[in-house]
């Protein structure tokens, strides 16, 4: 793919997100486009979080998927990352801001308070 073309499924979807400090903070679990029928679509938002998984599963497994991974509540098990936050696309998707500012890696932040109690953590 050259010029201004990119294979989004191959190069973006399911790729690792890394914040401005180099911290791994989730994956590109889905993408959202903006635009109307018959108009140009533009890539608008990255969805990241386990809550996205259920709607990518086969229809018959979505109910179980929602129970296991979350039902896609934005801000809780799904984070919307504006495409404008993407700095660079290489082997990872590099973001312009810190994970915390974007609401990413909440699980790690939550569990860090427990792990911090372990010796030499």
């Amino acid at each position: 793919m050259g010029g201004d073309r990119m294979d989004l499924v191959y190069r973006v979807l399911d790729d690792q997100l890394v914040d401005v400090d180099g911290r791994r903070c989730g994956r590109v679990d889905d993408l959202e486009f903006e635009g109307d029928i018959g108009e140009f679509l533009c890539l608008f938002v990255i969805f990241s979080g386990l809550g996205v998984w259920y709607w990518r599963m086969p229809r018959r497994l979505r109910a179980i998927g929602a129970r296991l991974f979350g039902s896609g509540v934005v801000g809780r098990d799904v984070i919307r990352v504006p495409w404008t936050q993407v700095e660079d696309i290489s082997s990872v998707i590099r973001l312009k801001s810190k994970a915390r500012e974007l609401g990413l890696a909440q699980g790690d932040d939550r569990d860090a308070t427990f792990v911090a109690k372990l010796p030499r953590s």
Partner: protein, 406 residues
């Protein structure tokens, strides 16, 4: 000179780290039942793991993507999830088998209640993993696992018929389900996926660069190959000691008996020490492998080189794996039986992780000039075909032979 020394140390660690409970169980059984006739299956498995490890190491170094990053990216969410769940389950079974094996070896050394020793083994491993740096873990278990080289010495000492041994290295076939089962088992015991997940994640943990590729290729090729010699030695010793009297090995103690028969108490102690650290090291690799797998698939921060609070879900993941393995082993399930299931199921799931790595390794978009050349491609696809055949045959053979009972 420093590089040569580094390579030598890396190879030693790889030799000691190659053998796990799967090799100890399957290779001893193979030698006892078929003497040398299954020796040829060892190089098939070793070449397979060299091919797989070299590709994953190269992919990780050049593209920055360890195995489960590649699986997620190349297979997508749904197929990737199936692969993830299968890998985690198999990892857990394998980890339980290794922990159980370590406890049995401790019991053979100290004659203490095995339930207590399972707890001791798990706590000991968790403490070592938590407090010792990554490189130190590799060295402790790798170097001390080299005590298993007593089997290489024993194989020579027992004076086998070398003509028959060399004939065993030539592929042969028996129209027997049991023979086919052992072929699958011996290949599967060498081609354990958790070693490859650990290896590729280790490439990123150790911050390999493209300049390190030759060095680390040497470690993989030489280390696994020399480790394969250990596997061959296990078969030869079992063939010499157990084949004639028709002993059917069903315990780790039986494997140790082979070294004792050659060298007495010294042989026994070296064998047990080597087993303890080989199996212990394998348990560590397994636990990390599970945590790497989960973290990489989900996109969490991961790495032993990170402080625990910087990769908290990764840290909790490997601790939980050890806890779950403890629970499994404490139910009293036989670790040797668990090992057989782990090896066979690993072989079944192997193509699911092998294929995405192969596809990325040959993709110039990610690999540039380091993409698979003609030799790597040829071996890569050849082994994919072999793995497919072996993985499809594994479960039917396990059922047909009642898990190798005959």
């Amino acid at each position: 000179m420093k590089k040569v020394f580094q390579v030598a140390l890396g190879i030693i660690a790889a030799i000691g780290g190659f053998v796990d409970i799967g090799e100890l169980v399957f290779n001893t059984q193979a030698g006892a039942v078929y003497r040398y006739q299954l020796l040829w299956a060892v190089p098939v498995g070793v070449i397979g793991i060299v091919v797989f490890a070299e590709m994953t190491g190269r992919v990780a170094t050049v593209s920055g993507r360890p195995v489960f990053d590649v699986v997620r990216m190349r297979m997508g969410l749904n197929v990737g999830l199936v692969t993830l769940v299968a890998s985690l389950l198999i990892n857990l079974i394998t980890l339980a088998a290794e922990v159980g094996g370590a406890a049995i070896v401790l019991q053979l050394l100290f004659d203490v209640n095995v339930s207590t020793l399972i707890l001791v083994a798990v706590i000991g491993l968790v403490l070592i993993v938590y407090f010792v740096p990554f490189g130190g873990i590799e060295r402790i278990f790798g170097y001390l696992g080299c005590a298993l080289l007593v089997y290489v010495a024993a194989a020579v000492h027992l004076k086998p018929d070398w003509h028959h041994v060399s004939q065993g290295l030539i592929p042969s076939w028996h129209s027997s389900a049991l023979y086919a089962y052992f072929v699958v088992g011996v290949i599967g015991a060498a081609l354990v996926p958790y070693e490859v997940y650990f290896y590729s994640s280790g490439a990123i943990e150790d911050r390999w660069t493209v300049r390190d590729l030759s060095l680390n290729r040497a470690n993989a090729v030489l280390g696994f190959t020399l480790g394969g010699i250990l596997s061959i030695a296990l078969i030869v010793v079992a063939g010499e000691v157990f084949f004639a009297p028709k002993v059917q090995p069903g315990y780790l103690g039986t494997t140790a008996l082979g070294a004792q028969h050659a060298y007495g108490e010294a042989g026994l102690l070296l064998a047990l020490l080597g087993m303890l650290f080989a199996v212990g090291g394998a348990a560590v690799e397994c636990a990390f492998s599970g945590a790497y797998t989960l973290a990489q698939f989900a996109g969490w921060e991961w790495g032993k080189y990170r402080r625990p609070r910087e990769a908290p879900r990764f840290t909790l993941a490997w601790m939980i794996f050890f806890a779950l393995a403890f629970v499994v082993v404490e139910t009293g399930v036989d670790p040797v039986l668990l090992t057989e299931y782990a090896v066979i199921l690993s072989v079944v799931a192997l193509p699911l992780t092998y294929l995405p790595v192969l596809l990325i390794a040959r993709d110039r978009t990610f690999m540039g000039e380091r993409a698979n050349g003609l030799l790597a491609s040829t071996f890569g696809w050849l082994y994919f075909a072999i793995l497919l055949v072996v993985s499809l045959a594994a479960i039917p053979l396990m059922l047909a032979t009642d898990g190798g009972a005959g």
